[in-house]
Symmetry: C2
């Protein structure tokens, strides 16, 4: 059983917050978890002497159909307890990737308390993160070199009658330059918020690494909150327990209106931005993919680069979402006439929305509408969305 | 048992990430936890049918000495299980405050999965947050009105040979103004990092609310990472498990050198800043208090407003930290000659470092050094540090 080498410093840290953390004093040893070996075996550990069962749930795990026939679940891994009450398991040769995982202790999902690296996945959960380095994940980490900034900025939305927050990435060199930059508007999915792309999407690291390698143009990236009745993610406010904030508003077209009416004008008035179609790109995943479809149809001359990730012409009525598809033919013709430089559609073979992409492509083909289709392995996952952003960012501007 | 009213939307959100979250489909009902009643009773709930024991650990709880005589622990509250496997407890009439809490399930500390509001407390843990509104916590929430921005910005530290990240708050109106602003440098404690003041310290909300009420001058607030061997908090990087990053470097004077040699020049070159002593303030808590003491002694003419929170002339050798106090007399005389407009010392009556503050005040008194002493109730807690920031910000510039 490996333990942290920094007992002394951990003790210091604990002591310096004695009042709050006194229960840790005298027992501040920390397990090492996750431990990554030379061959990318990963060992997970949890001290839980009183638990009857500890399982590992990771987003790399195979999905298996539920016994009741409804949906599917991860094939969880059971940990084994040693004499000191430490549970562990080793996952062999993990592929390079940024993973999310949790322990399940007697049925309750928990973080890995030894791992300080966490991310909140929208309204779903907060997970521990595991980064396995390698070629496939090389764009995701914060390398030495010039870096852009990420700004949490508030803006007035007249459309929604709210003061709302978004995250704005400015590229390396922005602060010391007088240049104007093109802008990518980057939208999250249902259940997410404006912190999704900056955390799980590692958008800043991907952009820094691509720009520093000369593989993407320096650009500003705007990450909005796509839930039209939410002022911001994770914001401190009385009366409204955050868990109860409804998400989505899909099909209402409210976010789409606000993006065009509030967000773009704010960005173009507050940042050094090239204010023309050639310098605007729009992409989003899932719900954000629908918002991308809708916005580019409603405003065919606004964006020169359009990317639809993990979404197509979907019938979402079983989720209570009504998508107005009555104008599709005219919309496609309108966008065809506007002739954007790139209309990109990306979806995983196992995505539960892949059929909606088939439907969309068929419809676009009927109109001889020019688009690029990128089909990947896998499904409706951040693994894919990070790859899609990495690819889309190289093709624009 | 109360359940979330937004089943449909939760179902939608879950379905839209089907591949990753399919196990939630069909069972997406969420408990309401915490539930705050009209009289500020707070009900905590956790579904854990298989657990043998669920306890609540909150930072409002009384500390009681450990049975073994070493340190003290929170007086935890046991939850009670109902027939459906939901554990709950009610804490009556909670005082207005921003609290952190966790559940302890069969001995393992977990987040409240029903509560999306979380904050990471440095190298200690990630906790669920509970905001109880009222006069004492009124500065802490994101009210409607003009808002400043929070920027994560990277800078080169020649002193530390690292590219490092800090968080910079710019006040409401900064973006649309040509004015120059004074700057407060705001330092965290041992075990913390540059995300401490923006999250647990709710620095942006406190500053927005004070500035909008005309109670504090519009100012820029710079929140650094005070651990000199850390590039940034929670950053994705291979090879170095984040939990193993040593913290502190207290006593080395490395952070202090970098603050003066790297941080201040970067801020004064990249933001619209008034570059004079009258427009610089420095404050910090605990380790950051020591860094404040050290920096103002080394550079007596740099800051006109100096605030030391929860730290004094402490002997930290029992933590392995060597503080060089050999020049104290000359340093005090030097700072006395520089005559800063405010030297403010704040500490809680129950702070485990209160004796070091007594020592410090005695020494300062021997030199007839002018300072303001603020003694509060309570101890070494974020409750106090938020209050101290709220008070200090009103007295500067």
């Amino acid at each position: 059983m490996k333990r942290n080498k920094f007992k002394l410093l951990a003790a210091l840290a604990a002591c310096l917050s004695f009042q709050t953390f006194a229960q840790e004093v005298g027992q501040v040893e920390r397990l090492i978890s996750p431990e990554i070996t030379q061959s990318n075996d990963v060992i997970f550990r949890l001290k839980a002497p009183a638990a009857s069962s500890v399982k590992l749930s990771g987003n790399w795990m195979t999905m298996v159909p539920n016994p009741n026939g409804q949906g599917a679940s991860r094939q969880l891994v059971e940990l084994v307890k040693d004499a000191s009450g430490v549970w562990s398991t080793k996952i062999p040769a993990m592929a390079p990737e940024l993973y999310g995982y949790s322990f399940i202790v007697d049925g309750v999902t928990t973080l890995d308390p030894s791992n300080l690296k966490v991310a909140r996945d929208g309204t779903f959960r907060t997970e521990s993160l595991l980064y396995v380095a390698g070629p496939a994940s090389d764009l995701y980490w914060a390398k030495t070199g010039p870096k852009g900034s990420m700004q949490q900025v508030w803006y007035d939305s007249k459309t929604l009658n709210l003061t709302r927050r978004m995250q704005v990435y400015t590229p390396p060199g922005y602060e010391d330059s007088k240049a104007s930059y093109p802008v990518l508007y980057l939208l999250h999915g249902g259940g997410g918020d404006e912190e999704a792309w900056p955390t799980l999407g590692v958008a800043a690291n991907i952009l820094d690494n691509l720009i520093n390698a000369g593989k993407a143009k320096p650009m500003i990236v705007v990450m909005t909150n796509g839930n039209p009745n939410q002022v911001a993610a994770n914001v401190i406010s009385p009366n409204i327990p955050v868990a109860n904030l409804p998400v989505g508003g899909m099909g209402s077209m409210l976010f789409e209106k606000s993006l065009v009416g509030d967000v773009i004008p704010f960005i173009e008035n507050h940042y050094r931005v090239k204010k023309n179609k050639e310098s605007r790109a729009l992409t989003g995943l899932s719900m954000g993919g629908l918002q991308t479809i809708n916005t580019s149809f409603e405003h065919p001359n606004l964006f020169n680069y359009i990317g639809v990730m993990s979404m197509g012409f979907a019938d979402l009525s079983r989720f209570g979402v009504k998508v107005d598809a009555s104008q599709r033919d005219q919309q496609i013709e309108g966008l065809k006439k506007a002739n954007p430089a790139l209309y990109w559609i990306a979806c995983g073979k196992e995505d539960f929305l892949i059929e909606s992409v088939v439907t969309m492509r068929k419809k676009l083909d009927e109109h001889a509408f020019r688009y690029v289709y990128r089909e990947s392995e896998g499904g409706h996952t951040w693994t894919n969305w990070r790859v899609y952003l990495s690819e889309f960012a190289k093709m624009i501007f």
